[in-house]
């Protein structure tokens, strides 16, 4: 991965990788360059990291750090310029069957012409899941997000937070192995946001699904994740891959007032500030042949 722009400072991948076939999701040397009329824009320079099955990792980075680009490449909506994404060892070339994505724009990701229940049911119906099984999955998913009382409403009749719950229910009912979330709570109010964060933790623990949660909110990333992957500003590399050693049981009041929470938050904040000022990550001085083993 010789970079044409700044030879010599080519950052090496700093994300944690797993040996052999232990990884559920692998991102390998991912690079994305947009070709525009005004020249090439390098959104993502070189990213490598693995997620193990059942892990909840947060991707956090300054705005414009290519988080959405990365997610689109992982979800198979966009082809990377270089590198690859592997799901269970299989390269991703289009949206994989065992992956669900929750977008930030809840108002634009649900079908406004379908009722809540139909929205949640559609992907299953499309897959040919038998009626009885479908009904059960949809009921359970709506129950899990606390929306069993509004199956016949249209999404636009609900508040923003509730609409995002519908989108989460749809993802949950789909029974993915990997759940990608692209700043899902950026557009909801603070209180709803806290509720939804707890909902994600609950759903994750209940289903054992692998979650990659993209956010620009540092507190959110530390509160939610078992691991926080900090991205640099564009062109994006991994600034740091940090393990969040907070207790597994988390709640909004107590977890957030733990000294360790404050330390971690502080650390992530510093790294992001460094990233914004253009400081290369610690691992960047290594050559690209040796994949970084994590800086945390």
């Amino acid at each position: 991965m010789q970079s044409e722009t700044t030879p010599g400072t080519t950052p090496a991948p700093a994300g944690k990788t797993l040996p052999g076939n232990e990884a559920m999701l692998s991102v390998r040397n991912l690079k994305k360059v947009y070709k525009t009329d005004g020249g090439d824009i390098e959104a993502v320079r070189n990213l490598t990291f693995d997620l193990k099955a059942g892990e909840l990792a947060c991707l956090v980075g300054p705005s414009g750090s290519g988080k959405t680009t990365l997610l689109k490449c992982i979800s198979g909506l966009m082809a990377p310029t270089e590198g690859e994404v592997l799901l269970n060892g299989t390269p991703v070339s289009g949206p994989p069957k065992k992956m669900a994505v929750v977008f930030q724009e809840y108002g634009r990701s649900l079908f406004p012409w379908m009722r809540v229940r139909e929205n949640v049911e559609l992907p299953l119906k499309n897959q040919g899941v038998p009626r009885a099984e479908r009904d059960k999955l949809v009921d359970d998913a709506l129950e899990a997000v606390g929306l069993s009382h509004v199956p016949q409403s249209y999404p636009w009749q609900l508040s923003g937070g509730m609409q995002q719950r519908v989108a989460i229910a749809r993802a949950v009912a789909y029974q993915p192995e990997v759940l990608l979330m692209d700043e899902p709570f950026a557009a909801v109010d603070a209180q709803t946001r806290a509720d939804l964060e707890d909902l994600i933790r609950t759903v994750w623990r209940k289903l054992g699904v692998t979650v990659l949660f993209v956010t620009h909110d540092i507190d959110e990333s530390v509160y939610l994740g078992e691991r926080v992957i900090i991205l640099s500003s564009s062109p994006t590399v991994i600034q740091e891959d940090l393990t969040i050693d907070l207790p597994d049981e988390r709640d909004q009041l107590n977890t957030r007032s733990l000294p360790r929470f404050t330390e971690l938050r502080h650390h992530v904040y510093e790294q992001i500030q460094l990233a914004k000022q253009g400081h290369s990550p610690a691992a960047a001085v290594q050559t690209d042949s040796s994949a970084g083993s994590g800086a945390a």
């Binding site: 949206p95 069957k97 669900a100 724009e105 079908f111 379908m114 559609l122 992907p123 249209y154």
Partner: protein
């Protein structure tokens, strides 16, 4: 009670207009302007009989076939052109050209090519009605929200399912707007296609009445056309309200914010 109120709003203005008409033609002797009573009499005599089967129904039949074909052709072609970029780039200038041609000038051409047949008349109706549906469908398909499209994509909704669950409903509001225009153009072309060379139909009959100075009868034919237009409009509105219920609801919510 609500029904009565709706009915009141529906009939109030027509009744007032008829009353004004009646008052202004009191003692009127102008041969070309009939009184309401005379017109009503002519209407009943002219249209409650054989003419329903010989003229009215065949006209309506051609109108329905023409408009329905135009809608189907417009939507199918619109889905195709709207979804495939190179097809869109290829067809757009040509479509603008064909759209700009006033369909009535096609009547003589189609007459020569197809003869004076029902097929010719239906072809005239289609040639004019297809454009608003086609162009609106193309626009509707192009305007599908990117996030919604990505959502469908990530959940493996492709091909026919994508058209059924995403593309058609999403383009629905625009398609319906196209159909609304298509209906009024259809009515006009139905009459015109029968005026040039024909031996039956509403357009033909009205021209016949005019040429034979059967003035109240001529007027009554115009009333029939108006009634057909009103009926079409009601059917359209009824359908549109059902098909686009989500859209009107969504708009209401958006406007309320």
């Amino acid at each position: 009670m609500r029904f009565l109120k709706t009915l009141g709003y529906l009939l109030a203005l027509p009744l007032i207009l008829v009353a004004i008409w009646w008052a202004s033609t009191l003692g009127e002797t102008n041969f070309f302007v009939p009184t309401p009573a005379l017109l009503a009499e002519a209407f009943a005599e002219t249209w409650f009989g054989e003419r329903i089967f010989s003229d009215v129904l065949p006209s309506i039949g051609r109108l329905v076939v023409g408009v329905a074909s135009a809608i189907i052709i417009g939507i199918v072609a619109g889905l195709l052109i709207g979804s495939v970029k190179w097809l869109r780039d290829l067809t757009e200038p040509v479509l603008e050209f064909f759209r700009a041609i006033p369909p009535p000038v096609l009547v003589p051409v189609l007459m020569l090519l197809m003869g004076i047949t029902d097929g010719m008349k239906v072809a005239v109706i289609i040639s004019g009605c297809v454009w608003p549906v086609l162009l609106n469908t193309i626009e509707g398909v192009r305007a599908i929200d990117g996030v919604l499209s990505d959502s469908a994509h990530t959940y493996g909704i492709h091909g026919w399912a994508r058209i059924k669950y995403l593309v058609l409903p999403s383009a629905g509001p625009q398609i319906m707007a196209g159909i609304r225009q298509c209906l009024s153009i259809g009515l006009i072309l139905m009459v015109i296609s029968e005026m040039f060379a024909s031996s039956s139909g509403l357009g033909f009959t009205i021209v016949q009445f005019q040429r034979s100075f059967a003035i109240p009868e001529m007027w009554s034919g115009i009333v029939v056309l108006g009634l057909i237009g009103v009926a079409l409009s009601f059917i359209f509105q009824w359908t549109e309200r059902r098909v686009l219920r989500w859209y009107h609801g969504l708009r209401e919510v958006e406007n309320a914010v």
